[in-house]
Symmetry: C2
Amino acid sequence: MQSYGLARRLIDESAEIHRAAFYIPSLKGGIERLRRMPAITAPTTARYPFTCTLHQGAIEAIFHDDMKTEGLGIDRPTIPVSIEVSEDQAELEDPHAYPVKVRFSLMVCVTCLKQAATQVVVQHLDRNDTEVIRAKFVLGSDGAHSWVRKAMNIEMEGDMSDFIWGVVDINPDTDYPDTRNLAVIHSPEGSALLIPREGDLLRLYVQLADADVIDPQTGRLDKARTSPQKVLEMAKRILRPYRMEPIGEIRWWTTYIVGQRVANQYSVKDRVFIAGDACHTHSPKAGQGMNASMADTHNLAWKLAYVLRGWADISLLKTYEFERRKFAVDLINFDRQWAALFSSGKAGLKGNDDTLHDMFRRNGQFTSGIGVRYDPSAIVHNAYQAAATNLIIGERMVPHVFICASDARPVNIHDMLPADTRFKVLVFVGDITDEEVAARVHSLGEKLSAPDSFLCRFGHGGISAVFDVICISASNKQNVDWTDFPRVLNHHWSKVLLDDEDMHGRSGGGGFAAYGVDPRLGAIVIVRPDGHVGMVAPCDCLEAVNKYFSAFMTTAVS
Amino acid sequence: MQSYGLARRLIDESAEIHRAAFYIPSLKGGIERLRRMPAITAPTTARYPFTCTLHQGAIEAIFHDDMKTEGLGIDRPTIPVSIEVSEDQAELEDPHAYPVKVRFSLMVCVTCLKQAATQVVVQHLDRNDTEVIRAKFVLGSDGAHSWVRKAMNIEMEGDMSDFIWGVVDINPDTDYPDTRNLAVIHSPEGSALLIPREGDLLRLYVQLADADVIDPQTGRLDKARTSPQKVLEMAKRILRPYRMEPIGEIRWWTTYIVGQRVANQYSVKDRVFIAGDACHTHSPKAGQGMNASMADTHNLAWKLAYVLRGWADISLLKTYEFERRKFAVDLINFDRQWAALFSSGKAGLKGNDDTLHDMFRRNGQFTSGIGVRYDPSAIVHNAYQAAATNLIIGERMVPHVFICASDARPVNIHDMLPADTRFKVLVFVGDITDEEVAARVHSLGEKLSAPDSFLCRFGHGGISAVFDVICISASNKQNVDWTDFPRVLNHHWSKVLLDDEDMHGRSGGGGFAAYGVDPRLGAIVIVRPDGHVGMVAPCDCLEAVNKYFSAFMTTAVS
């Protein structure tokens, strides 16, 4: 969200969860608190070491409002009737072709991808009751019951779990002290999970027995067999001796069985894609659903944009399924363990510390994306990992505070990595007050500016349309000026950073060490438009960087 | 700006200045950099240890846009013709009377005070070419040539200085390395001050000779005798050997002589007030003009609101001139020293370190308001300073990070002190796991809730309309719950803070020590609606707090 420039509103509107509490049966009857611990076992460099909770509608509104500022919107009342992908191999391989035909039962439109919308929809062939749209690409982000997935005969693999849950949202009137912390509750009456929500709201998950909600005739969940009042009554029994009453109405409720399934393919001929719940379903309690879904399309969007703009070969799209399906399989495997631990009643017990810590840590790595590592591919090249030992190739870029050489302002590197579809080229160089280093840096500058450098060869519409070059030097702020660096590295005063402390010694410094970069060798770190490290190389291996981009980028016509 | 909830947009739109550079004549000819230092010598607790620069129109737009969200606006095309204040003492003392009559040459309206607008303008007596408005109060925030000031025969005291300056704003194309730092430049050609502006802009101030701009006939400044090109040429000569060319046009320019004057009174019969440049003029280079002006009306606004709402006695308004005129006199005395040091060419020289550091520190204290201390009065009561030795009564509240007892979220106390016209009642109590302390806290809670407590006596329209009670406990987060505190202190889960570290040990803790509060005695700290500490008292001196409010508040009818 921060890379889209949308984190502030999210944090403003949401509840922050910093702490988890565990309750167990008390010898005195009812429950008692066993202990509290951090809700997130975040790495020390994490900028926001907490979880945010906010309902999906409010999060969607943040995106919609941002889309509006770009003149984009979503048409919802359109129903697809049929979808057809060309069998013609030549057409499928032609990036200018429109090999997908979708028939709609109402007028107009498909979900817009922010970066590519105007190019996706091209021809309205028919203006009768149904309308046919020929598209270059179709993306089905249409939920767990995805029409696109079914129409394309994509199978879901996996099973429903045995765990049935009821959920109510209330504004609590209570003497229970952990309403603003995530809480795992095991009582003689059953298990509950309590999650603070925006404002004063509290979400209560309670585990239900089959007899409460399963229709014995069909063996399926029947929501009509229970009610929000019954779910709340169950929660109240679990929370004894604490009082838990709603102020006003119960705000929302549901029941569900956890399904743990993943689609066997994410695309058909790299022309029709599915994303989000259409690809994977799992326990909602770990907060993974919307997070995983947004990460799917975050991964796909820039790739589609590059192909549509003619900047990359269409084969780039194969990396979407390659990267995101593995993530979903890992997530569901984790979810099975997490759900089982959870339902076992053993989550908070002493002696389970290691397991629990590990579960919390892994859960946070999935939700935040910090733990996601994409395997080697055309866009993940890990031959030179030694040049930046702690910037793991395939993982997200690690945050760190540097200072701007021109004004000594502290800058978190993440603020220089917006999701603006550009590759970020981070050039780490040594201390240029050393004449030998300075000579090497100026030589590197010349090579980067040369016509055969990747910046020029693949810089469609100018270097800065595709690449943002940022220089990070090991020099001290007292001794160098941003004007001392070669033009390709200091093209704007804001683009030269130093690994040094700010003017008050509050932040900055230690970045080369934290990243595992040797200042004598330097490093070129390529951060993909989605914030993942695509490759690293020592500064004298520029040819490897050129090759990295040659593997999927098209040459710019100069 | 942060207490209005407007800091984010200001910081987003402005340039941050973290560093100052000093240049002196070089033996090689031209200038050379002597050294760099922090632009702000901020206390360690300062949240934003830098200066922001942004042009006045953009800052006004932040306020205007915020006013719009409240349905408020400003009518500019109105010209006042005459103003008259009643001589009737009874009318002047009656808070419900309208003793000021202003005649306007066009239809309608006066500048609105955000909090009080609807109550200021009351009667449109006349709808001809001129219109007469009878008002309870009139505020002349109408600049250095204030019509209100002249109409009320208020005199300006002080003189014009001997310093004449020319100013140009450009987008620079340059090899000069300190475009993004504040820079003081002394060259054989003269003196200059360079200040980075929003975007890539740079403001250049150059000292001019009398011969350049003074009309020898009149002895007055004649802008027509120079031009933006001449001012820029002067700057270019001063900056040699560096190149300094504008990209595109010169954006803005002016010339001025520094006037250092203050009005001999700020109000007439506490019914007509003047504020900002109408009261005081001084060197613009220290960045004091708009800052001092906003602080004037920030001081007055809540007092007017209290009187208009019937919450406070009209005599409260006397504290406006008492507090703000002394500030202006101090500022102008400082400005004289600063301008002289500046023009002397000695500002950056070694050996002047102490003087310069002290000047920078004092300048920052005036611009930020951190150094402003209001003298004892009805609203500044310093008898019990010993109860919080480092919260200086009359100064602004000191920022510090505490954690919220309910969710362990770190909270800067400044975020709980918005300019919402309420007095903030900070109740510091010891560790309530100690039974004796707990008993005292519950007893204090009872006294605060009793009908004779200031909260009830002066809580017009309910306690929370006038007061926001915040409890800060020395307890450890592992051992207490927000639900353990008495109701008057824990009226919402967000209102109980702990002097402890956050879940990751990154912030929080040490607050009692930093504020000089003894946890065994506790303290009640009253923060005025403008963020200044109005009084402190030990927890067992509640009667002193009752008396503090009795001195200027009116009793609520229950």
